[in-house]
C-alpha cells in the first residue's frame, strides 16, 4: 500500500494518493467540489474556475492543484459558493441556454449545477449573442449557443494518431469551438457518441437522435449533481 497523504477539507480529515489533485481526492473522500470542465482522467484545464477552493488564504482551482501533506482546504464557504453560483450565471448569460428545448436537458451539468445552486434568474443581464451552429460533420452537430468552452472535447477526442479533432478558434469573448471537418468525417459511431457524451452541455450532439430518455429517468431528474459523490463515504 502506498503512503497516503493526509489533508483536510472544511476541517474534515481526508486521505489522498500521492499526485492526486484536490478535486479527485475530495470526491474519493465523499466531498463534492462543483466543477464543469473537469473529467477524471483528463489533464485538468482549470478553465471553468468553478472548483475554486481556498488554500492557505489563496484561491486555487481544485482540479489543477495537487494535494500536499497537511493541506487545509476551504470548500463550503459562503464566499466561494457565491462566486461559484456567479460563474454558473455568467455561463448562462454569455450563451443562449433554453433548457426546455434542449436535447441535453436533465443530463446537462450546467443545468444541474444551476439547480444545485438554486439559481432562479441570473444576476447578470442576458447578452443574447449571435452564434452560428456547425452541422457539417456527418455524425455530430455543434450547437455553439450552448457551448461553455470547457475544452472537454478538445482534451479528450483525438484521432488514433493523436491529432486534435476539436479546437478553439479566436479569443476572448469571441472564442468558439471548431471541429476539423476532414477528421470529423472519419469518426466512427463510437467516437462520435463519446464526443457527445463528454460534453457537459448540449453543445455536441449525436445526429438523428434526441430526447430519447423520458423525463424522470434522466441523470439529474431525481438526484442533484454531486449527490453520488456525497454518498460514497
Amino acid at each position: 500500500m502506498s503512503e497516503k497523504i493526509k489533508f483536510t477539507i472544511d476541517g474534515k480529515e481526508c486521505y489522498a494518493e500521492p499526485g492526486q489533485n484536490v478535486l479527485d481526492a475530495a470526491a474519493d473522500n465523499g466531498v463534492y467540489i462543483p466543477s464543469l470542465c473537469h473529467v477524471r482522467g483528463l489533464i485538468p484545464a482549470g478553465s471553468c474556475r468553478i472548483c475554486n477552493v481556498k488554500i492557505a488564504g489563496r484561491n486555487m482551482t481544485a482540479c489543477t492543484t495537487p494535494v500536499e501533506e497537511g493541506m487545509e482546504i476551504e470548500n463550503d464557504t459562503a464566499e466561494l459558493q457565491d462566486m461559484r453560483k456567479a460563474i454558473v450565471e455568467m455561463l448562462f448569460v454569455e450563451g443562449n441556454h433554453f433548457c426546455p428545448a434542449c436535447e441535453k436537458s436533465g443530463n446537462c451539468e450546467l443545468q444541474a449545477l444551476a439547480y444545485r445552486f438554486q439559481m432562479m434568474v441570473p444576476r447578470f443581464p442576458y447578452e443574447f449573442p449571435l452564434r452560428k451552429p456547425d452541422s457539417t460533420a456527418p455524425k455530430l452537430w455543434i450547437e455553439r449557443n450552448r457551448c461553455i468552452k470547457c475544452k472537454r472535447c478538445v482534451r479528450s477526442i483525438k484521432t488514433a494518431d493523436g491529432k486534435n479533432i476539436f479546437a478553439f478558434r479566436k479569443r476572448g469573448h469571441e472564442v468558439e469551438i471548431q471541429i476539423d471537418h476532414e477528421l470529423a468525417a472519419q469518426m466512427t459511431d463510437e467516437e462520435a457518441k463519446k464526443a457527445a457524451d463528454i460534453c457537459p452541455v448540449g453543445s455536441i450532439l449525436y445526429k438523428e437522435k434526441g430526447f430519447s430518455e423520458p423525463i424522470g429517468t434522466r441523470k439529474f431528474d431525481k438526484n442533484a449533481i454531486g449527490s453520488d459523490i456525497e454518498k460514497v463515504v
Partner: protein, 598 residues
Amino acid sequence: MENEIKSIVGKFNKDPMRLMDILLDVQAEMDHVPEEAVELIAKELDISNVDVEQTKSFYHFFTDKPQGKYTIYLNNSATANMMGRAEVAEAFEKAVGCKFECTSDDGMIGLYSTACIGMSDQEPAAIINGHVFTNLDPYKVRALVASMKAEKPIEEMVEKYGDGNNSSNLIKAMVNNNIRKKGPVLFSEYETGTALKKITDMDPQDVINEVKNSYLRGRGGAGFPAGLKWDFCRRAQSEERYVMCNADEGEPGTFKERVILTEMPQRCFEGMAIAGYAIGAKEGILYLRYEYKYLQEYLEKVLNDMREANLLGKNLAGKEGFDFDIRIQFGAGAYVCGEESALIESTEGKRGEPRNRPPFPVQKGYKDQPTVVNNVETLCSVVKIMEKGAEWYTMMGSRESAGTKLLSISGDCKYPGVYEFEWGIRIRDILEMVGAEDVQAIQVGGPSGTCIGPRDFKRTLAYEDLPTGGSMIIIGKERKLLQDVVRNFTEFFIEESCGSCAVCRSLTVILRNKLDKIIAGKGTQSDIDDLKKWTKYGKMANRCGLGQTAANPIATTMENFMDKYEDLIQKEVEYDTGFDLAAAVAESCNYVGRKPNL
C-alpha cells in the same frame, strides 16, 4: 501556393513548435493567411487543420483576408485618444473613403485599429506596413494617404528619423526615444561584455547568490525576486534549460523596453547570457512583440556583432564549455502573451493561453524544460549588478525595493518619455519633473494597475507602497475619467482576454455593459452596488494576472473616484432596466415606415 508553403515550413524543419514563425512568414508573403494555406501548413506539419487555425485565429496580426496594399494599424489606446486620435481617425476615413476595420474597395488601403503599440509618448501613432508613424495629425494623414494613392514606397513616406539609434541605417524610424532622465543602472555608461567576463570566473551558484543579495525583483510588474527564480530553475532536475526574455511589453502606456532595445540591446542580451551561465542554459529566446518588428534587422545585427565578439556562441568570453546563443521569437499581437507561461505557449507555436500552476515555468517551461522568463529591464539590471556588485545596487531605492526603475510616462504632461528613478520616489515629485499640472488622476502600472487621485500623490513608487511595471499615464482635469479612460481600458481587456477562463471572458463584458449603462445616464444606485460586488469575482476566480486585474480599471476608480460614478446616475430613480424600447424597435419601424407609438 503549395511550393511557397512547403519552402516556408521547410525553413523551420517542419517543426510544429515553430508555427508562429511559419504563420508570420506566410502573412508577410501573402498579406494574409488564406484557408488553403492553413490546410497546406497542417499537411506539412502533420497536424490537424484546426490546430493551425486555433493559433492563427488567436493573434491580431494574422488575417483571413488581405488587409490592403497599405495596411494602417492605428493605435486605439486611451493615451492615443487623449492626444487626438479621433481627428486622425476621421481624417483617415475621409481621405481613404472607408471606415475603420475595413479595406478600401480597390484593395489599396486598409484601416484597422490596434491596441497600444508602445508609442504613448508620441501619439497618435500608427503602424503602416511595419513602419511606425508618430505624432500624426489630420494634415499629415492627408499627405500620407495621398502618397499611398500615388503608390509611393512606404519607407519614403518617413520624412524625418528619430533620435539616437532610431536614425541608424538598420532602423530608420521616425520614433523618438525621449529619454528624459538617465539613472545609474539602466541608462548609464557601460562597456558591453564587462560583466560577462567577470562572472565566468565565478561559480554559477555565486552568480545567483549575487542577484539574490541585490534584492532585484522582476520588473515586468509581478515583482518576483529574480535571484530566487534563477535558483529554483537551477535546482530543477533536467539536462536542458532555457532563458527567455519577455519583450512583449503590451501594457498600454509602456514603451521603455522599446527604448532599451533601441539604445542598448547588448545589455539585454548580455543579461540573458549571464542568466544562461547561472542556471546552465544554452539557448535564449527574446520574445519580441510584433509591434516592434521594425527593430528586427538591427537586433539581428547586434546579435551577430556579439557572436563575433565571442559574447554569444561557443565558449563565451573564452570560458571553456560556456555555450549560449539567442534567437528572436516574434509575437503576432496578443497582450496576454506578456504573461510568462502564455509567452512560452506562444513560443511553442500555440495559442497564448496562460498555463495552470503548478508546475511553474522554472520547473516545466519551454518544451517542458526548466525555464527562466525575465523581463528586458530585469536582465539589464542584472548586468549592472554583476559589474558593480549587489551592495552597490542595494544602496539605491527604498526599504523593500532595491535599485532603480524605468518609467514610461505619457498623457497630460509637458515631457512624456522614459525616466529612470530610484524606487521610493514620491508621485508628486514625478509630476513636477514631467511638467504635469492640473492632474485629475494617474494610472499607475497601466490598465492592470491602479488609478489614483490627488490624495495619493504623496505616496511613493515602491513594491511596499505603489508597485508598477513602469507605465504611468497622467490624466488631466478636463478628461472624462469614466468615458475616456475606464471604458477604454475595460474594452482593452475584453479584446485581449485569451478566452480560456469563464470569468475573464464573460465578466469583462458584463462590467463594460454595466459601465455603459451608467455612462448613458440610465444607471441608478443599484448599478453602482452591482459593479462594486461584481468586480471582486475577477480577482478571486481568474487564473492569470490579466484576468485577475481585468476589473481593476473599474474597481480602482470606484475606490478613488466614486463621485464620478455618482454624478452620472439618476438620483430619484430606484431601478432602471436600461432598456430603450424606441431604439429596439427603430429598425423594424423604419422598415415598415411606421412611427413607434410609445
